[in-house]
Subunit: 202 residues, 2 copies
């Protein structure tokens, strides 16, 4: 199997992946922005998210900035800027900020010490909590705790659910494919004895 | 913040999540099936996937079966059975197999020692490789290596990419929302100096 073929195939195996931009800066305030498709929910109380950093693939600056400052942001990717978001995956020189070269605007909110992406409608500020180096391939699983969430209040439902369709969040398959998303099912918490009813089909 | 509200809100923060059914069996061949939205790509060579098990939420049988036999399957969820897939999240008694109560068919392929889901068009057999207990909340990050992949050959593109749209794979938001997916962007590997062109818009 050639390398690109294998990369595309194995990257397709998870199914659809979330599309997020991770924003960081160094102590000298050099900013970095990287698209990451491996953000995963770890728990709600405390509110924890994790993501995988593959040092050979993702610019190391994201990792070194997180370790240097202890903070990073996660910013959802919307359909209207998938091209610029994908462009952050290019291996830019260290001196270049992807905010500039990929046409994103830095946004600093409430003195949080990492840059948010102004163009993103759902932005999360996190502090670094833990990291695990995976024995099998030396990737790093980085874990952060949510400190702040910014989003339009119209997309927050009464039950705490967020309407990601309304802000045109996208998902990724493989390495290079971006997709728009439309809800087809909404269920209640499932309990034994009764197959859950699709509330959208009532 | 009440508990359900917090669960819904924090589970929405990653963006869209993949929808997969994890199939396992005990040494006595008692089978188990659980929907998991935390499958993540860890690397392509060796081909590694991971997922998060929250012992308080997911039936422990998935974990104990994996540890007992060393094998599990990952099966993609399609739009036509999101209701049955969601139903596997109910806390069934230990003696009950979700294959039966949620109307899925066990499928054994090439003597692989864990059950696949017959209704799923993309099925992956994995062997257990490593686990990490996350200090902050005692969840477990389980890592497996891909041993086998089954899918219709029509969805495998020349470059190794897989057309997940064609088999109606879905994604999840929050805990209870299921979505269909349509491709809007396809890019080449990004390189500095030239913003990637959306090949679907040519």
């Amino acid at each position: 199997m050639n390398k690109i073929y294998r990369l595309n195939l194995i990257n397709s195996m998870t199914g659809y992946k979330p599309a997020n931009l991770i924003g960081t800066q160094s102590k000298e305030k050099n900013t970095n922005l990287a698209i990451i498709s491996s953000v995963v929910h770890l728990g709600s109380n405390p509110p924890l998210l994790g993501f995988i950093l593959r040092p050979a693939v993702v610019p190391r600056h994201t990792y070194s900035n997180i370790k240097e400052t202890g903070f990073f942001t996660i910013n959802h990717v919307h359909a209207n800027f998938v091209d610029n978001a994908h462009y952050t995956s290019a291996k830019f020189d260290e001196q270049v900020s992807e905010f500039d070269s990929c046409e994103f605007s830095r946004e600093y909110l409430d003195d949080f010490p990492a840059p948010f992406v102004k163009e993103s409608k759902l932005k999360i500020g996190l502090n670094f909590l833990e990291e695990y180096e995976i024995g099998a391939n030396k990737t790093i699983f980085v874990i952060g705790e949510i400190q702040s969430i910014y989003m339009p209040k119209e997309i927050l439902k009464e039950n705490g659910d967020v309407n990601l369709n309304a802000i045109h969040d996208v998902c990724i398959s493989g390495l290079n494919n971006y997709h728009e998303v439309n809800q087809i099912g909404e269920f209640k918490y499932a309990r034994p004895g009764k197959k859950p009813e699709n509330l959208l089909k009532r």
